[in-house]
Subunit: 154 residues, 3 copies
Amino acid sequence: MNYFAHDSAVIEAHCQIGIGTKIWHICHIREGAKIGRNCVLGRNVYVEAGAVIGDAVHIQNNVSIYNGVILRNRVFVGPSVVFTNDRYPRAGNKDWKLVETIVEEGASIGAGAVVLCGIRIGKGAMIGAGARVIRDVEPGETYVECGRQIPEGL
Amino acid sequence: MNYFAHDSAVIEAHCQIGIGTKIWHICHIREGAKIGRNCVLGRNVYVEAGAVIGDAVHIQNNVSIYNGVILRNRVFVGPSVVFTNDRYPRAGNKDWKLVETIVEEGASIGAGAVVLCGIRIGKGAMIGAGARVIRDVEPGETYVECGRQIPEGL
Amino acid sequence: MNYFAHDSAVIEAHCQIGIGTKIWHICHIREGAKIGRNCVLGRNVYVEAGAVIGDAVHIQNNVSIYNGVILRNRVFVGPSVVFTNDRYPRAGNKDWKLVETIVEEGASIGAGAVVLCGIRIGKGAMIGAGARVIRDVEPGETYVECGRQIPEGL
């Protein structure tokens, strides 16, 4: 084991965690999750199996990385950023369809942003704090919108 | 006791928690709180006395259910959804007035949405991720707004 | 020691915490942080060294107070409010520039609001729940916007 995890963190079985990664207080890494090298996970970060986290990714406090969320190398995820993996969530729905989110290399997601699933955030893009990301973001783009979501089909 | 609570969860005295309910890591259920049957509470969910949680409600990570928040059966609450119970919060105000929020049966609240108090979200409604809910939502309505709040009286 | 901290809270060395302050479950106060008298910190509040917290400040659940965030006396911070201290965050950037945020006496920040750094929220101002604070707020002003951020230079 060549990574660091604080005593208060829960690391389930069969996780792959790279050398040099630091996992801080009250994090929870679910069984079979994969995290790259030299990452930093702040307080209360939750990572599910099926999430993909590259190398040198920085995730700030209070972020949940669900199954289907893919963070490439050197991505920055600000505090309290919110990801999703289900477009039409309903309690008790067993037929829900997993929808992926991809955040390309070196992109940054500002604090408190909400990222809908099915979206690709391009290489090096910058998502403003508090933005609601409702469409793909181009490589290098600065995205600061907090607009309406357009329901599918409209 | 016919519900499950993870060892790291705090369940205070005199709570009523229904059969089949699962309460996950670092949750905190305050004294006298009432939670129905077959619910799932994700990580770091906080429930106050005076909150009402029906049956088969699913609450994702990092949600606080305050006194005055009423979730009917089969409601879905996404991760990091924010509820409130005071329209004009001020530090140290002992005369604050509790304002209720009602979420009707089968409604879903998308991830990261902020729900103002004094609002009713109708049966089966769907609140988009990151929405700011500033008015009542009709039964079955899809609400995706992130608009200005209209201060009372304007 | 004349303040209260729950057993599950982490209080690092050399903190200054005033008489009568209450620090609740799973909070984390970093080394050297300064917190005034008669404050209340809810669950999962994180305070860094370099943050300044005055007297009688109330901070609700799931809030992180970073280095550079200054909260004057009697400020109210709602649940899941998000602060920042870096305008252009990038993973692994060692040359980032700390930008301060100042919240003046008696101001309230509604639940789930996102406060960009470099901003001053005036005395007694009221920030609506879910607002994105992208400009200075006048003393006594009610700010409810959830608009676009204007990138610098435009």
